[in-house]
């Protein structure tokens, strides 16, 4: 696996080129390119805000911001995995004709979505400062959370994209799974609303832990005292699962990779 990483490092410029290509293709042909990609979270935010703060009257203050802080990181995850699932198959012409470490394909999708996520975060920061959130106070934690999340997202993407070559119906399963995952992560509700006995199980999901961190950093800074980080045990488990998935995904991807050229 170390030699695989070395090879990947040698091809880092290709990762850069392909990531750039993904972003360019996405925003090509429309000046508002990037803003179109904001449409999806904004619409979801409007719909959920209407449902939760006007219809159901949950009593969560400034629900839109509450939601946005968790929705953006989750979108980074779900978009990466959803697009990544089909990436090897849709790049069949490359896979069949040219030799290069193929993990670059799903990884380029992860990174292009990551760049997108960063831009969305900038927008979020603007919104936060308008509403007088001191989001900058714990900003130094953000890089660590993002790095761990990138490893986790990459792991799931590698896993799904390679398995999807062997089992083509997986991509349908993935989109359903992502929906379940969305509701299983405390995005439209706070973790505190979940019954105590489920809370620990829920925190086995790294996305839930990331969400807690993002929300502590950006939302609760205004609505609660101090910084309520999850317990050390939860953090360690989250790290274990995230890196575990990364290595598992990478390992399985590399196992299936030799078959790509014949199967796609």
């Amino acid at each position: 696996m170390i030699s695989d990483f070395k090879k990947l490092f040698a091809y880092r410029e290709l990762l850069y080129s392909l990531t750039k290509k993904e972003l360019k293709v996405k925003y090509r042909g429309s000046v508002l390119g990037f803003f179109w990609s904001l449409l999806n979270p904004v619409l979801i935010m409007l719909v959920y805000s209407f449902v939760f703060s006007i219809v159901l009257r949950q009593g969560i203050k400034e629900f839109a911001i509450f939601l946005l802080c968790a929705l953006l990181p989750f979108n980074f995850f779900s978009n990466s995995v959803n697009y990544g699932a089909n990436s090897i198959i849709s790049n069949a012409n490359l896979v069949k004709k040219i030799y290069f470490p193929k993990e670059i394909i799903p990884l380029s999708i992860v990174f292009s979505n990551f760049i997108n996520f960063l831009l969305e975060l900038l927008i979020l920061f603007i919104v936060l400062s308008i509403f007088k959130y001191k989001f900058y106070m714990y900003l130094y934690i953000l890089p660590a959370v993002i790095v761990v999340q990138i490893f986790f997202v990459s792991g799931i993407s590698l896993l799904v994209s390679s398995l999807n070559v062997l089992f083509r119906d997986l991509q349908h399963l993935v989109s359903i799974l992502m929906m379940v995952w969305f509701f299983g992560t405390p995005i439209i509700y706070p973790l505190s609303m979940v019954p105590e006995r489920f809370q620990f199980i829920m925190q086995l999901n790294p996305m839930a832990v990331f969400t807690i961190f993002y929300r502590e950093m950006f939302y609760y800074i205004k609505h609660s005292e101090g910084f309520n980080i999850p317990s050390l045990r939860v953090i360690l488990i989250c790290l274990g699962i995230s890196f575990g998935f990364f290595f598992l995904g990478y390992f399985i991807f590399k196992k299936i990779e030799p078959k790509f050229a014949e199967e796609v």
């Binding site: 091809y11 410029e13 290709l14 850069y16 080129s17 392909l18 290509k21 360019k24 293709v25 090509r28 042909g29 790049n91 012409n93 490359l94 069949k96 004709k97 040219i98 030799y99 290069f100 062997l166 089992f167 083509r168 119906d169 997986l170 399963l173 030799p258 050229a261 014949e262 199967e263």
Partner: protein, 441 residues
Amino acid sequence: MVVLGNNPAMEVRNVTKHYIIRHQKNPSLKDTILKGREMYEKFSALEDITFSVNHGETFGIIGSNGSGKSTLLKIIAKVLKPTSGEVIVNGTVSALLELGAGFHTDLTGRENIYLNASILGLKRKDINKRFDDIIEFSELEQFIDMPVKSYSSGMYMRLGFSIAINVNPDILLVDEVLAVGDQSFQSKCYKVIYDFMHRGKTIIIVSHDLDTISDLCGRVIFLKKGKIEDMGDSIRVVNRYRAYVEEIERQRIIEQQRIERKKIFKSIIDSKRKIIDGEEIDRISKLGVGEEFKNRFGSGEAEVTKIEMLDEAGNLIDFCKSDAAVQIAFEVKFKNIVENPIFGIRITDHRNFVVYGTNSRLLGIKTDAYKHGDKVRVIFKQKINLIGGQYFVTVSVGNKDTKTYHDWIINIMTINVLRKNNSEGIADLNSEVSLKEIFKT
């Protein structure tokens, strides 16, 4: 990164490739769980291939379709993984397998150069260095900032080729790409290949164009059904391959002739049985009855019962060489009184174009009167001055009035003329060429 010295540029060691042919190409998760994955067949594309290519050598791979050439090249390019065995490559490889693979049609030519070159393994600063060369070679300066979806297929290919050759590999793999593009692009490609050769690069070429192979390559391997049939000096191996292809072609012709003969024989038997049965059938009413008689018409007062081709010595033959002398013989049986019939033959080519037609009257033979039960054997001695290919013989027994026919069978026999050389046309006019040097420095 070239490791110079005595070690070869590339070594293929005991490479075997089996493909698994599954009855359902992409099984779903459900099928896999329910049925397992046992529904497949093995297909052996390459079997224990071992050879090595030296630095600076131009090496050819030939073989008929399905012999494993492209699979081998893809394994060398590391696109496919061999089932067993290994390929050791000393140096960087660039494969001209598919030009412009990985182009994104929404991106401009410029962006695609960066993208494609980095896919082929170039570093960004190397791309910057070679960028102008790439554009210059492709002759696409004024289109370089347009999206490639607006390119013609020729422009697309030119850009792909320019990038691939500017990757400047130690080993270049070429798969039939020299056969694409217009004349000027092709000659440009050849120039690049020659240039590579002069710079001491290693080139591996797969092609069906045997002249190119024997022209460019020093050594050649000849693959047959996934195995190395022969390897060595290009001229010798290419000749051996040519002989093999000719043999295959000959076998095919013999087989075809056999089927043809069987058909004719069957039609003769059928027509005989009808006579034995004493059935008096109006020949004209038989028009269009049965496969064998579809192309036959006439009053039926005389009937062609047999046709064959013989060589000069009188041996039955199936095919002949261009400008061989042969005999086309057919037998005619009379059912009624026929006075002075005219026996004719016509030779047509595969486009149904009449190459030659003649008859006994034109050739100055006066025929007798015949009655029921008489049998005649008509022999046309013929020189086949034809270019190689497939020709068909039509025979006829005509009335002396030259307007009506007793029997006329279209394309009853096939003559396969073997190719003498690659001259074109229909008639072989037996050219002889000579040179007289008037002035020479």
